[in-house]
């Protein structure tokens, strides 16, 4: 292993599991966010159980984590919490609505500079302007978003 960050390829089945787990987690996070808001507004777990049809055991199990969640689970929670679903799927290559110029790995990666002399340019005004480090072979956008 020599690369700093290599994409280890998953099989089709593994990608299906990955996709399923990501969707399920996103649904869980979204439901829990609305549930936290409803709790802050005064809703109790007992009231939520009533809104779901009165099964407190089912509610408790499903609030613990999304392990057994189905689309129907999501739908039941959304309705019981008086919410509405908005679903959006984008391409991995789509730009972010607000461009990010920070990621958590800054300062933790070996920096590869294609041309060290090009790190600084001297404009006619005389002030040196630092240019961002670029990893070899990566487009500028890839360097910015990790």
């Amino acid at each position: 292993m020599t690369s700093q960050s290599k994409q280890i390829v998953m099989t089709t089945d593994q990608r299906a599991d990955y996709g399923f787990a990501r969707v399920r987690d996103a649904a869980y996070d979204a439901v829990m966010e609305l549930w936290r808001r409803r709790k802050a507004e005064g809703m109790t777990q007992s009231q939520l159980a009533d809104a779901l049809g009165g099964d407190a055991g089912w509610l408790s199990r499903n609030l613990r984590g999304p392990g057994n969640w189905t689309l129907k689970t999501v739908g039941r929670f959304v309705e019981a919490l008086n919410g509405e679903v908005e679903l959006k799927i984008h391409g991995l290559e789509d730009p972010l609505p607000v461009p990010q110029n920070y990621h958590a790995y800054i300062g933790y990666e070996p920096q590869t500079v294609t041309d060290p002399a090009a790190m600084f340019s001297l404009p006619s005004g005389g002030l040196a302007v630092a240019k961002p480090y670029l990893r070899k072979g990566f487009p500028v956008a890839a360097n910015l978003i990790s």
């Binding site: 290599k6 998953m10 599991d17 787990a21 933790y108």
Partner: protein
């Protein structure tokens, strides 16, 4: 003759120099001892995850438990969740569900819990800094077996925890893992409040 002249010359091998753990990670990453987890997202990383060589081999090897038991996709999803800074959650009783510090000794061994209806997995690691996990390797929950039923000193859990500590000591000799007073010291954002 001054007092300084009588001092023996300094042995350069014994000079203590300070190297931050971030610098150590950079060096280990450059040498291939650690691997930054490659994120499958257009979103920027909010937390850091580095895999040891063993963890990478577990992912690459088609005969590893991770791949044979069919939990690879779920493990990758959990790692993505961590790096994207998504919620580290507790259950309705305030018990950790996604990330848990294991009972010492050895101290400061953490697990990311992949809890699925079928096969479960545990990802053992240590914190180098806040929001920075060094992941030692993946374990099948079935292989680790029941913590309480096995004798503490020879249980699979204990062996796995000791191995995690040994790997850390090889990677970061003389550097202790990060320690904090509560979960928010380890996970600075988007984390439920739970006891550790």
């Amino acid at each position: 003759m001054s007092n300084f002249d009588s001092l023996s010359p300094v042995d350069p091998d014994r000079v203590l120099t300070y190297m931050s753990i971030a610098s150590s990670i950079v060096t280990l990453t450059a040498s291939g001892k650690l691997c930054k987890y490659p994120l499958r997202s257009r979103q920027p990383a909010k937390r850091r995850l580095f895999l040891t060589e063993t963890a990478v081999k577990d992912l690459e090897d088609h005969n590893s438990a991770v791949n044979i038991l069919g939990v690879r996709g779920f493990i990758e999803s959990a790692m993505t969740r961590w790096v994207l800074g998504q919620r580290v959650f507790a259950d309705d009783k305030g018990k950790p569900r996604f990330l848990k510090r294991l009972e010492p000794p050895p101290p400061e061994i953490w697990e990311i819990r992949v809890i699925e209806p079928r096969v479960q997995a545990r990802l053992f690691g240590r914190f180098a800094e806040p929001d920075t996990l060094i992941l030692n390797r993946f374990h099948s929950r079935g292989v680790l077996r029941d913590k309480k039923k096995s004798a503490a000193h020879d249980s699979e859990w204990q062996k796995a925890m000791n191995e995690c500590e040994a790997t850390w000591n090889k990677l970061f000799p003389g550097i202790a893992p990060f320690t904090g007073p509560d979960i928010h010291a380890y996970v600075t954002e988007n984390c439920d409040d739970f006891a550790i």
